[in-house]
Structures are given as C-alpha cells and as structure tokens.
Amino acid sequence: MELLLAITIGVLYAASFYLILRRSVVRVVLGIALLSQAVNLLIFTAGGLREGASAFIGPEQTALAATSVDPLPQALVLTAIVISFGVLAFTLAMVHRADQSTGTDDINELKSTDT
C-alpha cells in the first residue's frame, strides 16, 4: 500500500511541476491544485498507514485502542484541504481579474514589472 501511494504521490508531484512550468496561467493554477493534493497524500502516508483501523474512540471504549490509526495526520490533512480550497478559490478569482486587466494568459507577456 505504501509503495502504491508513494508512486501516486511521485506522479502527482511530477504532473504538478510540469503544469506549473507551463506558460499558461490557468495551467499553473491547476498545477498548484494538484500540488496540494500530492502534499495531502504525502502527509497521510508519512503519518503511518494501517488497513481497516479507525481513527476514533469507539462507543464502548474510553481511550484509543492500540490497533487504531493515528488521528493526527488525518486532522492535519483535513485542515490542509480546507486551506487549499480557500486559497484555490482566491487564486482562480485573481487569475480571472488578471486576465481582465492584462488581457493575456501567457506568463511570458506578464513581465512589464520585471525590468
């Protein structure tokens, strides 16, 4: 399972960096969206996987059982998903506004502030 997830994370990272290096601003934003998914999976995997175990205290228990999975990485991922959702919404709005005021989608033409 770890191997499969590791390969998935690697493919996601590679795809997101490829998209970020493209010239179109929209593709860059898609790359950032993929990047945040890759990071979420990375946290989830690095925190330790355990098949078929729950991350919460059952109805008859008073403490986490030894067989249960660590809930903290899941909490981290949940927080990260919420943050990346908000940030992505802002980024899309910003790209729309940038498209309105500059009239181009090409990063290479957004260089009047570089010189």
Partner: protein, 503 residues
C-alpha cells in the same frame, strides 16, 4: 488575560469590527488606526512581561503541552511583535492619506489587521503545523492587499507573488508531514527534545532542507528571491512598506526558530549552507539594486541583500552573531518600512518613482530630505545610526574567530563590509538623483499641491520612525541588551523546552 493571547485577539477583533463596519469608510479608518495603537500597547506589555527572561506559555483549551497547541512568548517573539506593532501603527496612519476611498471600501483595513494577526501568530506559536496555519492567514491577507485595486502592474506582480508563495507553502506543509512521520510530534519544544535523541540525524537534516526551502522562499534568500523585486513595487506605497518591513522577516524569524531550536544536530552542514546562502544573498541583492533606477525596485533589491546579513548572523551561530541578527531584524524592519514610506511621499510630490525624472527635493523640501537621509544613511551603516551597530555586531562576530567556520567566517565578514559599501553607494545614488539634482522638466516636486492634512499624515509616521532610528543609534546599549538576552534564550533552548513541557 495575558499579553500573548491579547496580541492575537486585538488584531482579530479589529479586523472583524472593520468587516462589520464595511458601510462606513470613516469607521474603518478610525478602527484601523485605533486597533494598531491598542496592539502597540499590548506589545509593550508583552515585552515588559518577558524582558527578565520569563517565557509565557498559553495552552489552547488547557490541553497539556505536547498534545495541545501552545503559544509561547519568549523575548525574541516579544521583540518581533513589538516592532510589527510599531510598523503597523505607522502604516495605518500613513494609509489614511495614501489609500484611496475604493480600496478602503473594499476592506483594506480589515485585511491589514488580518495580516497582522497572521504575523503575530507566526511569531508567537510553539507548534509547527500551527505556524503553517498562521503563515496561510498572513499570506491570504497579503494576496488580497497585493491585488486590491486590480491595476495591471499589480495583477502582474500578484500572479508571481501568489504562485511562488503557494509553492513555498506546499513545501512547508510537506516538511511538517514528514517531520511528524519521523518524530511523532509537531510541538516545537517536544521536537527539540526528540531531535536530540533521534537515531538517524541525517534523515532529520533532509527534512531540515525542506524547511530551508520553504522559509527561504518566504525570506527571499538566494536563489529563491525573484518574486520579491517583481512584485513589491506594484501595490500602493503603504502596502509595499508593510510587506517590505514585515513579511520577509517572518521567514527569517522562522529560519532562526527552527535552526536554533530543532535542527542543531549537524551544525556544520546546515549552518554552513546558511553561511553560503547568506553571502550569495547579500551580493546578488546589492548588485541588483545598484543598476536600478526605479525608487521602489531599488529598495526591493535592498531587502534581499539585507536579509543576507540576518541569515549570516544565524549561520555564524555565536551569542554575539545571534544577538546581531535579532538587533538587525528590529533595526531593518523600522528603516526599510520607513524608506518605502518616503518613496511614497516623493511620488506624491512629483508624480513619479523614476529616479531619472525625480530631482530638486533638497531645494524644495529640506525637512523631507532630512527625513529620508536618516533611514538611508542608517541602511548604509553610517555611525551613529542604528544600521552601523547592527552591521558592527555581525561583522565583529565573523572576525572574532570563535565560530565553527574559521577562515570562511572572516571571508563572509569582509563580503558583508563590501556589500555595506555598495549599499551606501546606491543610497547616495537616490540622494544624488532625487534630492540634489536639479529637477528635470515635468516632474518638479510640488509639496504645496498635497493638502496640509495629508502632508501631516504622510510625514508624521516617517518622522516618528526616523526618531526611533536615531534613538536606536544614540542608545544602542539599551536595545542591544535586549537582543543579547533574546540570543541567549535562543542558544540555550532548555529554558524554552522546560517552560513549554512543564506540567
């Protein structure tokens, strides 16, 4: 109530009140300034409470330390909160005359205070993941401040700023996840304990490199600084002043925090890398600045080169060098924000940021020329101004010979001196072009075109910050004593660890 919680509650409550009062620009302007003034009072209380070496710990929901999230107010954090509040107040007053009605109506003051919340939170938190959340609070507010108004240069700068900062955030988050996988904790004090007992320090160093990339991008060190000079000169002057003063320094603070508290297992590798980065940052930043002819772009490149000095102090890792870093942070935030505010006044008086078109300011307004001269010479390191003592501490630490780098520390000290000379050169370039040169046609300075009330609001904060620069320069011993105590706390983290993990 304790000052640690209050330094977060005050900007939060102010920001929420600003949002609630969105119909009234006057109310928002009043709240924007009043909130910063209250925050300054709280920050002074925080510094008074931590000056004797006490470490204030606040536990969220009273959960014991390694399990719950903690806020930790030690002297370094208190100093950073204080200087943020000073800059916040200066910029809020300046904004009254600089920010137009449209931006005020769309929530400028609310986002300014949300950003202060993120900045203070990042300084005070004692938990890695919580620091990530504060960074995001700070970033999303800064994204809005950067793009508010939607003018073409602003949007071009904002695209680069947003994309590169989001990539840095994802590095930060990945580093947090891997660090948790390795050590099973994210509490900084607990991390410090476990990192010292960790079986494979090489793997921890690998994680440290991820943090170095994440914080290095925020701090704009070589070779990750390209977004800064491409974006910092595009928003309104008040916004670029608060960005220039505070945001990169949050990255430097985070570097100082993790590379004194957690990643100290392989000092020669990590701090040697920081040493090389510091040298390259200083040199590339200042060389970039020397060729610029736009007022704010020139100052933006100087942010990069000055970051190099602060990282150099961290890399040398002696008590004097770290005290120099803390002192440098304080001095630099005040001076750099002030120079950006001054560039805005030059723009208001003459209508351009182009140094070739500016001119004649010394003849037209000698008082403003003096107000620019103080921070500019302080940045260049002329005694008896604050920058001299900041550079002196770092260079002396490099020449002292008690670092772990021997000859290389001396080389870097010499590089720091040469960069100081080039800094002085580009400050005199601004002075010669904008102030001494006769005004070329079309952009002669006209202070009388700006209403009297606006002039007070624009020049008041600049004069106050210039006075603070003079005060640091004339009483360096008083300020340096604080920096030395803060550095002692950073170098002996046992006090921090005990305070946080105490039952």
């Amino acid at each position: 109530m304790d000052p640690v919680t209050l330094s977060l509650l005050v900007p939060l409550v102010t920001a929420v009140l600003c949002v609630l009062g969105w119909r009234s620009s006057g109310l928002q302007r009043f709240l924007g300034v009043a909130g910063m003034a209250v925050l300054l009072g709280v920050a002074l209380w925080l510094i008074a409470a931590t000056a004797g070496g006490e470490i204030l710990v606040v536990r969220f929901g009273n959960w014991p330390a390694p399990f719950g999230i903690v806020l930790v107010g030690d002297l370094t954090a208190a100093i950073m909160v204080l200087v943020s509040a000073i800059i916040g107040l200066a910029v809020a007053v300046y904004s009254l005359a600089d920010i137009d009605a449209g931006r005020t109506r769309y929530g400028y003051y609310a986002f300014l205070h949300f950003m202060m919340l993120g900045v203070c939170g990042a300084f005070l938190t004692g938990d890695m993941f919580n620091m990530f959340v504060w960074f995001e609070v700070m970033l999303i507010s800064s994204f809005v401040l950067m793009s508010l108004g939607g003018e073409r240069p602003q949007m071009e700068g904002a695209v680069k700023y947003v994309v590169l900062n989001l990539i840095s955030s994802s590095f930060f988050l990945a580093a947090c996840g891997i660090l948790y996988g390795q050590t099973g904790t994210l509490n900084m004090a607990d991390l410090a304990v476990r990192a010292r007992e960790y079986m494979q320090p090489e793997l921890l160093t690998l994680t440290a490199m991820l943090f170095l990339v994440a914080f290095g991008l925020k701090a704009a060190v070589f070779p990750l600084f390209f977004w800064l000079p491409a974006s910092y000169h595009t928003p309104p002057v008040a916004v670029s002043a608060v960005f220039a003063g505070l945001l990169t320094k949050v990255g430097v603070y985070a570097l100082v925090r993790v590379f004194t508290l957690i990643f100290t297992a392989d000092l020669v590798l990590t701090h040697g890398l920081l040493l090389a980065i510091a040298g390259l940052t200083m040199v590339t930043g200042v060389l970039g600045a020397v060729v610029q002819f736009d007022f704010r772009r020139l100052l933006s490149f100087h942010i990069v080169s000055q970051i190099g000095y602060m990282v150099l102090g961290l890399a040398l890792f002696t008590p004097l060098a770290l005290a120099g870093t803390v002192f440098y942070l304080f001095h630099h935030i005040v001076v750099k924000a002030n120079l950006f505010l001054a560039s805005g006044v030059a723009h208001r008086y003459s209508g351009t940021f182009d140094l070739k078109k500016l001119g004649g300011f010394y003849a037209a307004t000698p008082f403003f020329a003096l107000l620019f001269f103080i921070p500019a010479m302080s940045l260049g390191g002329i005694p008896p101004l604050s920058g001299f003592f900041a550079k002196f501490a770092i260079v002396k630490a490099g020449l002292a010979g008690d670092t772990m780098f021997g000859g290389w520390a001396v080389v870097l000290a010499v590089v720091a001196l040469a960069v100081g000379l080039l800094t002085l050169f580009s400050m005199t370039k601004i002075w010669a072009e904008a102030f001494w040169k006769r005004a070329p046609g079309g952009h002669a300075p006209h202070p009388d075109r700006v209403p009297w009330g606006d002039r007070v609001l624009l020049l008041g904060p600049i004069a106050a910050l210039a006075l603070l620069t003079l005060a640091i320069g004339f009483f360096p011993g008083f300020f340096f004593a604080f920096a030395e105590r803060a550095a002692a706390q950073l170098l002996e983290p046992q006090g921090y660890i005990n305070a946080v993990l105490a039952p």
